[in-house]
Symmetry: C2
Subunit: 214 residues, 2 copies
Amino acid sequence: MESKRTHNLQMIRRLPLYVKLLRKLHSEGIEYISTTALINELKLETMLVRKDLAGLGIAGRQKIGYKVNELLSAIDAYLGWDKDGEAFLIGAGALGSALMGYEQLEEFGLKIVAAFDVDDSKVGKEIHGKMVLHFSKLPNLAKRMGIKAAIVTVPAESAQKVADVLVLAGIKGIWNFSTKELNLPPKVICHNENIAGGLAVFFFKLKQMNGEES
Amino acid sequence: MESKRTHNLQMIRRLPLYVKLLRKLHSEGIEYISTTALINELKLETMLVRKDLAGLGIAGRQKIGYKVNELLSAIDAYLGWDKDGEAFLIGAGALGSALMGYEQLEEFGLKIVAAFDVDDSKVGKEIHGKMVLHFSKLPNLAKRMGIKAAIVTVPAESAQKVADVLVLAGIKGIWNFSTKELNLPPKVICHNENIAGGLAVFFFKLKQMNGEES
DNA sequence: TAGATTGTTAATCGATTAACAATC
DNA sequence: TAGATTGTTAATCGATTAACAATC
């Protein structure tokens, strides 16, 4: 029963792009789409899109293409979007506040139900309609509400301490925005979002471009 | 004079992690660091770190390691951090506001000098100490201030229109946070930050983990 | 039938990992 | 000298691209 196909993480990163477009098509009443049409809209490489759709394991029809709603539910299933994802957010600073107000997260299946911080000037307030609670209340709430996912947007210095508490509170997955590799037990998964890394790549590309001109 | 080494983008993404640690060491007065020590701190793979440092083109000394400040300036030079990066931000929504208040950006060499929006309820206000101006003022200001980089945090629907204006205004690099592939002339570089993609990977890992348990 | 499109298998390319050599 | 560490070259692995087959 083990899955033979090796999962392509880069492909998974592209899935939301497809979802965004497919939902738009769906809302416009379009039932079928060909890869050629997808490529035109998304400006991706032909073979990439073809491979990605093939990887979802559903069949298209020649001359017609893929059924839009079949593609959508295949992607949902692939990503585990069928059960809706509720998460706590820890660290209501600039970045944390942003994620609390970032509609795209809910659009793509993640709902932040509450935020936590240790800063008294933040605790008790609402940000984008969501309550900021004291971090000490997290373990109880997590158990009571059955929350299994957490978004970590605290400074690098506190990240490991926060993670330790999360693990004890029964959190199973951490989306980590701090610039710090976390030490976690094997049963807890972690995905690092390295924004500073993205910035570095941006700078590097800029430099290369300028370098070429001179 | 052309560079022979192929640049490893993944390595570039890791550089800020090194910088963060190296700066801390530097401030503590530590002069030399070995890769072994770096690996312990950062929890990265031995060979990755070794290769990354080698890629910077500076020499370490056996038994002693690398000179901390040499490493730092090598990374700065590699990324083009020597000249400081000033940027405009377009789209002062949740995500845009966050980036305006996100200290890490300045820490890693990018200074947002002003933000732009078309929403009258935002224009004229200050967010995290930075002015939000009307988008129509961008072209003039960009030329007057010599700004060459822009951060795009507008919704996918307006992203291309914004990009077109930026190109005309002489912007040479775009850090694109919208879920939309931009159509740009070859001389303008673009780096896409796909946060929804990161979320998709996070969900996928969560699903895999839960799937294994059952 | 011809053409457009899906589907699959092989080749290439880039990044990581492993193995080994060099040196203080 | 022995050991720790840097430095380099080769092997593996994953993702993309190319080539070709199948079919409506």
